[in-house]
């Protein structure tokens, strides 16, 4: 079964890679990761309950040569009537040095932490799903980015400073999507993120991001979007602390009105138990999305949200995680609801 999924994902991606099966015997040049999850849902929300297929994600990395690397990612997502296939990432990177690498293609937008650290890799994260501000199909944060990204760092400095700077198409007319087929206007989006990973504390990272774009509001007028994001994480098992905050402003291109900004944050705390219970990792997350009525881009999308998530992750083996998660949530315009999720997620790796 494991071989089937890996084979499927590599087969999907291999036309783009062009290298599958051509690796020299002594050094396989195409590597694959597969992520997947299966879920069971009981909820007071107006959603279908029962067993739910999660996403199946194939990730391929290919050394084109010593300095060129291809990264590709394809997802299969269960719908009511079919599976949808999506190219999540496809980019080629040239490594000049640790201080400077440049890539072109489709990326996870380097805003904050979770979006690039976990994203479709559900097995990697502690909880069942992402926070609402960067959820699947997020409209609050543009989760994908098509364009050019330069990145690098100063790994030999005690603070482990790093950066990502990108220019791209920004959001599409449907603001949940990236502009895969071109920009919707003549103003490119750009993003800049700086972060610090102090080498003396593995897993610790602080960062700040600025993102700017011009987009189409639901009334088809144009607005300038700016996102200011901060993150502070200790991404380890005991304890795990993840915190992100984002402030988004939308200002009309015509006129002088300055609309109030929208805010979102989450704070997640987890702790892997010790000794005989070390397979267990309880966690809790508090999160909120606040969109004022004056935000002409976000307000019509009813994004306001309050949520508390409590769960436990159980790792019966290295590459399998089982989770049981309770959520107490309130979506905009709806009553507070209780939900219970059970999930099995896994990762496959191979060459």
């Amino acid at each position: 079964m494991r071989g089937f999924w890996l084979g499927l994902f590599v087969a999907i991606l291999s036309p783009a890679v062009g290298l599958a099966g051509q690796a020299p015997d002594d050094d396989p040049r195409v590597r694959a990761l597969g992520f997947g999850d299966f879920n069971y849902l009981v909820t007071e929300r107006d959603r279908q309950e029962g067993f739910r297929m999660g996403q199946m994600v194939g990730h391929v990395i290919a050394d084109i040569d010593e300095r060129f690397t291809f990264f590709g990612e394809v997802s299969l997502t269960a719908r009511d009537d079919k599976y949808s296939i999506e190219v999540e990432r496809a980019n080629v990177r040239f490594d000049f040095a640790d201080e400077f690498k440049i890539s072109v293609g489709r990326f996870h937008t380097p805003i904050g932490y979770w979006n690039t650290a976990f994203h479709h890799g559900s097995w990697l994260q502690t909880s069942v799903a992402r926070p609402e501000m960067i959820k699947f199909g997020s409209r609050f944060i543009p989760t994908h980015f098509v364009g050019l990204i330069a990145e690098g760092g100063l790994p030999t400095t005690p603070l482990g400073l790093g950066y990502s700077v990108g220019i791209g198409n920004g959001r599409a007319a449907n603001i949940a999507r990236a502009g895969d087929a071109g920009d919707v206007n003549d103003r490119r989006a750009w993003v800049a993120r700086v972060r610090s990973r102090p080498i003396s504390i593995v897993g610790l990272e602080f960062g700040a991001t600025f993102y700017s774009d011009r987009l189409l509001a639901p009334d088809l007028s144009e607005a300038n979007e700016r996102i200011y994001a901060l993150h502070a994480v200790l991404d380890r098992d005991a304890p795990e602390i993840l915190a992100e905050y984002a402030h988004v402003t939308h200002d009309p291109v015509t006129g002088s009105a300055n609309f109030p900004g929208s805010d979102a944050y989450y704070v997640q705390f987890g702790y892997r138990l010790q000794g005989r219970l070390r397979s267990l990792k309880p966690y809790v997350r508090v999160e909120q999305v606040v969109v004022p009525s004056g935000d002409d881009v976000f307000a019509p999308l009813t994004l306001n949200y309050d949520g508390v998530v409590v769960g436990i992750r159980y790792d019966p083996g290295v590459f399998l995680a089982l989770r049981l998660e309770y959520r107490y949530e309130q979506f905009e315009g709806l009553e507070k609801t209780n939900s219970l999720y059970a999930q099995a997620s896994f990762v496959l790796s191979g060459s």
Binding site: H59, D98, T156, R236, G317, V318
Partner: protein
């Protein structure tokens, strides 16, 4: 590549784990690393030597006592967390692959002398004249204060 499932708990045993020497390809133009530099290399935060050549990390397969020492002292991780770390690194497009896994000291000795830019570790008793050992914070294995004793 990340290997098969292993024990859930790291098994460093001070009684049976001897000091570990850090060895590099003979043409790597470096004789001394700070412990932080060494950690940044093993964490793949640093992936190139100063001459911009790529660093190839060689790591013993699970069960080797010296691997447990490296996981404890450099990574500060359990075996499980170590594997998750490298999968996450690849998923985040921060590396093209995990460390090359070597299954014996002899295999490591062979590879570190033929792969340009490679770095690995061996028990100090296995160090021969064919290996280039580098100092950590100015110290060699056995010196008082050497971090991988």
């Amino acid at each position: 590549m990340i290997g098969a499932a292993g024990p859930m708990v790291s098994t460093v045993d001070a009684q049976t784990t001897e000091a570990v020497a850090i060895v590099v390809h003979p043409e790597v133009a470096i004789d001394d690393l700070s412990f932080d530099d060494l950690r940044s290399i093993f964490l793949a935060e640093r992936q190139h030597w100063q001459d911009r050549s790529r660093i190839t990390l060689l790591v013993r397969a699970a069960i080797a006592p010296e691997r447990d020492l490296i996981l404890t002292e450099i990574y500060g991780m359990s075996e499980d967390r170590y594997r998750q770390y490298w999968i996450a690194k690849m998923f985040r497009s921060e590396v093209a692959s995990g460390p090359k896994i070597v299954f014996s000291t002899d295999m490591l000795r062979d590879l570190v002398t033929v792969i340009p830019g490679s770095i690995g570790f061996v028990p100090v008793s296995e160090v021969g004249s064919d290996l280039k050992v580098i100092r950590i914070d100015g110290m060699l294995p056995g010196d008082e204060g050497y971090p991988l004793n």
